[in-house]
């Protein structure tokens, strides 16, 4: 077995026991990346030299018997919208070309500075996390390692494909309406969106700040639990983080679930859901039943409003969050500086933002405008409360909700480029979770007849990551498909 085929927890053990050095691991990881990256384009930037230097430093420390942190030089892909000091952070956008943040995101301090992870590269993404396919990256699309003609999902598409293909054992993504879970589902890996407020957003470039959350992507639930233990917790730099105890997720994975009740929302199995997806998800639910969990039907009467509500809120927030990009102080500016300040700003923003970002800024500005604010934004906030209540009602009756992550398997590149609304609809099963602020895990539960992975979603109550990881871990073991790396090939149909 090659090193890139191992899970993160196995690699940590190998380094801990000095079976391999960190440098060897990082070197082999880059070998794998160099061999596969042309086909996949998981990364916007790679930082081989920096990573190898860091590996050597950590090895030296280890040799001297000094602590190197709990992650022992674990290589990671980091989504390109999480700030790393003095490392390019473009958010998949031309407008941030050449921008080097002068500070680290809190999660970077925790994973890299404190626990000794190594960032091997910045993963590709839809520009400013706006998209479900990674086709909206200004640096070109990422390709799904299960079928290179298909999208890896988005917006954390690079973080999904790099893990699925063994380019890195784990990665970080961010999830605003499904941006971790969608690529996890399409790439056949594990992705967790934590409870809003569980992980610090300090240093995460905002798309829609009331919905965004950073989370891990990995090939097994155990690895996700390891990373969550490190990144979760109160941060005084993010007022929306909540100061409640972080569970020992890795130690709670094997708890029996025989006393649990799982809610199956009938609306999540409605129109638009592919039959093969439905069957595999139902099959996984049966497995959970066989582990002793009881299932009940729960209802989401307001699910049909989730998509418009989500997009109204996300676009409104985005229009304000992205106002700061004018190229004047950082990033890149239009080459043509003629005219007054506003003309230069407008030209820079028209040239340097991609079309999806411009569309969302314009729509968001419109919905916040005088006269439309009450009609759109305020109304969306009210519906958001109704959707939250739907979840609360369901979760009053059960320990977690189980359903598909995506209504389909990965679609073909270019399939929806002319139909953004159809693309928006793909978020139907993931974005309600962000509106409610709940945690949700996506794990692979099988493949369709095209050998494309299918995602299974487990949604928990606030701060109950422990429970959904526990359910996910046992299901993963039961299904026993998680060791499989993506083949990196054309699909053929």
């Amino acid at each position: 077995m090659k090193l890139y085929e191992y899970m993160a927890y196995e690699l940590i053990e190998k380094i801990k026991s000095k079976e391999i050095t960190i440098e060897e691991l990082i070197y082999q990881i880059y070998e794998r990346i160099e061999k596969t990256e042309d086909k996949l384009h998981s990364f916007i930037h790679l930082s081989k030299e920096k990573a190898l230097n860091k590996a050597k430093q950590l090895d030296e420390k280890l040799n001297k018997g000094k602590p190197v942190g709990r992650l022992y030089g674990l290589p990671m892909g980091i989504k390109d919208l999480i700030c790393i000091k003095d490392s390019p952070t473009t958010c998949g956008s031309k407008i941030l070309e050449g921008y080097y943040p002068p500070y680290n995101a809190t999660v970077i301090n925790r994973l890299i500075e404190k626990e000794g992870a190594i960032c091997v590269g910045r993963t590709n993404m839809d520009e400013f996390a706006m998209g479900s396919s990674t086709e909206n990256s200004c640096y070109g699309p990422t390709y799904n390692p299960w079928d290179l003609e298909r999208v890896p999902g988005g917006s954390s598409g690079g973080s999904g494909s790099c893990v699925a293909s063994g380019q890195t054992p784990v990665s970080l993504g961010s999830d605003t309406g499904g941006s971790i879970r969608c690529p996890a589902s399409y790439c056949g890996v594990v992705g967790l969106k934590p409870t809003y407020g569980r992980v610090s957003r300090y240093g995460l470039v905002s798309y829609a700040n009331s919905l965004d959350q950073i989370g891990p992507i990995s090939r097994c639930v155990y690895d996700t639990a390891i990373l969550l233990e490190i990144i979760a917790g109160y941060d005084r730099l993010d007022s929306t983080t909540v100061d409640i105890k972080v569970d020992k997720y890795t130690e709670e994975l094997q708890n029996p679930i025989s006393k649990m009740t799982l809610g199956v929302p009938k609306e999540f199995f409605g129109e638009g859901l592919e039959k093969e997806v439905k069957n595999k998800v139902k099959g996984a639910i049966n497995k959970l039943n066989s582990l002793g969990a009881e299932t009940i039907e729960v209802s989401f009467p307001h699910l049909e409003y989730a998509i418009p509500t989500y997009y109204l809120i996300a676009m409104s927030e985005a229009s304000s969050n992205l106002a700061r990009y004018d190229g004047l102080r950082y990033g890149s500016m239009s080459g043509d500086l003629s005219g007054d300040l506003y003309e230069v700003f407008s030209r820079t923003r028209s040239e340097r933002f991609g079309s999806e970002v411009r569309r969302r800024i314009i729509l968001g500005s419109y919905t916040l405008s005088a006269g439309y604010y009450d009609m759109f934004y305020i109304k969306a906030l009210k519906v958001r409360t109704l959707i939250k209540n739907d979840f609360q009602n369901a979760l009053n009756q059960c320990d977690a909700i189980v359903c598909p992550t995506m209504p389909t398997t990965a679609f073909k590149i270019g399939e929806f480029v002319d139909d953004p609304l159809q693309m928006y609809f793909m978020d139907i099963l993931t974005c309600p979770v962000n509106l409610a602020g709940l945690p949700a895990l996506s794990i692979p539960c099988g493949f369709d007849t095209k050998d494309l992975p299918i995602g299974f979603q487990i949604i928990g109550n606030y701060f109950s990551e422990k429970i959904i990881l526990n359910i996910g871990y046992l299901l993963e073991k039961e299904l026993n498909i998680f060791r499989k790396l993506a083949p990196i090939k054309d699909g053929g149909n």
């Binding site: 007022s239 409104s316 700061r324 506003y342």
Partner: protein, 494 residues
Amino acid sequence: MEGIRVSSNYEDVIIGLEVHIQLTNLKTKLFCSCNADYRGSEPNSHNCPICLGLPGSLPVINERAIEFATRLALALDSKINDSMFFFRKNYFYVDLPKGFQISQYNKAGGRAFADRGNITVKINGNKKEIRLNRIHLEEDPARLVHKGSIATSPYTLVDYNRSGVCLIEIVSEPVIRSPEEAREFLKQLRSIVQYTRISNLDLTGAARVDANISIKGHERSEVKNISSFKEVERALKWEIQRQRNLLKRGKKLTQETRHWDDKRRITISLRTKEFEEDYRYFPEQDLVPIVIDKNFIQQVKDKLPEMPNERSIRLQRDYNLSEFDSENLVLDKDIADFYEDGVNSVPSFGPNEYKQFCNWLMNDISRHLNEQNKTIPETKVQPKLVVDLIKHINEGKITTKIAKTFISEMMNGSSISKIIEKKGKKRISNEEIIEGNCKEVIKENPKIVEDCRKNPKAIEALIGRVMGKTKGQADPEITRRIMFKMLKQIGIII
């Protein structure tokens, strides 16, 4: 006279003020831990990812700012909202690194920090309550530096040191009826701010005012960027005159935003109503709602010092001061503290000395402070020195006239006995010396002496000459007695 002419001239004027006060006594900015004391620092040296609005940075509320705002709200009798959140005010400008300003808003589901409140002013001896609409907290934009006037500067420099400094905005109802009322309003507000210890308004740029001005029945204009309290009266007068001139020429006034150009001392149009910005206010969700409970408010209240109006009433009672004197005295907390320290330090002081001390403070000392553009703590004068000065006068050691010449040295901290020694200006009460001087004056001024037969007041002129000869040192009472005696002896008066 001035007052009567002016008030009739402004009968139809309506003014509302929005006063922005920097909480200069806060050590750090509103949403980050950068040093808020930026004055005199290298430009762009008090910054971090938060106040530069860098991607990924998040604001964290400075809890002291909440306490400061609570103090002011209590002092202004405003009703503090028990829970509130911040809003984003969206607009593009180089002084706003995030493209929005984090502020508070009392519409669209938002609430101000505090609602209502009032400030009492005195206009032509009559009290008037000027009602407030609200108070709220917000972050200061960066400082723009121009070469000369904004209209003609070839460039704009941006200094982000000011970006994110805490501002408190006080919005009055449109009930101010003249530039003088506005001036009095700001005078009282300045005093209250000083008493609450939230800001030092003497610092450049610590207070800025936007004014809404209209003439009854016509559209209003908003004059922005009046950069000090002193400028407000001037800007208001100018703008009212501009509106009147247009009306006189039969023109229609339009609703517009104007800019006060303090270099040229005129207002210039920035934009008219149809180009008015839509700020797209909406909640700032990077900050959690602020909850202000009754206990907290009570704790702040307990620590508040006596406010100027209460103090004025007490001073009238305790020191027998007139309403006029006490109201002037309490305006500047440092002056009032100085006063009370002084008069309380001498148990034997009574109403006469209280009045004397007040007069010295409000006349000669205040005049000196104004001339030097200093506040009393910035000088070396101590209450004890003024006490000494008064004692010297009352014990007949120096004359009031001489005492007045001591002020500038006293303000530098010199003791009264040192000044006397240095100036040799002890009072002359030796009768022989005074007699000699009187004799000379009588001899040198036969005409004035002759006048004294018909005009008893002419004797003052002779006494004045004696004072002149002795450089003011002769005791005026003794001089007067001797002069009378001598004029009697030579038969000029009976």
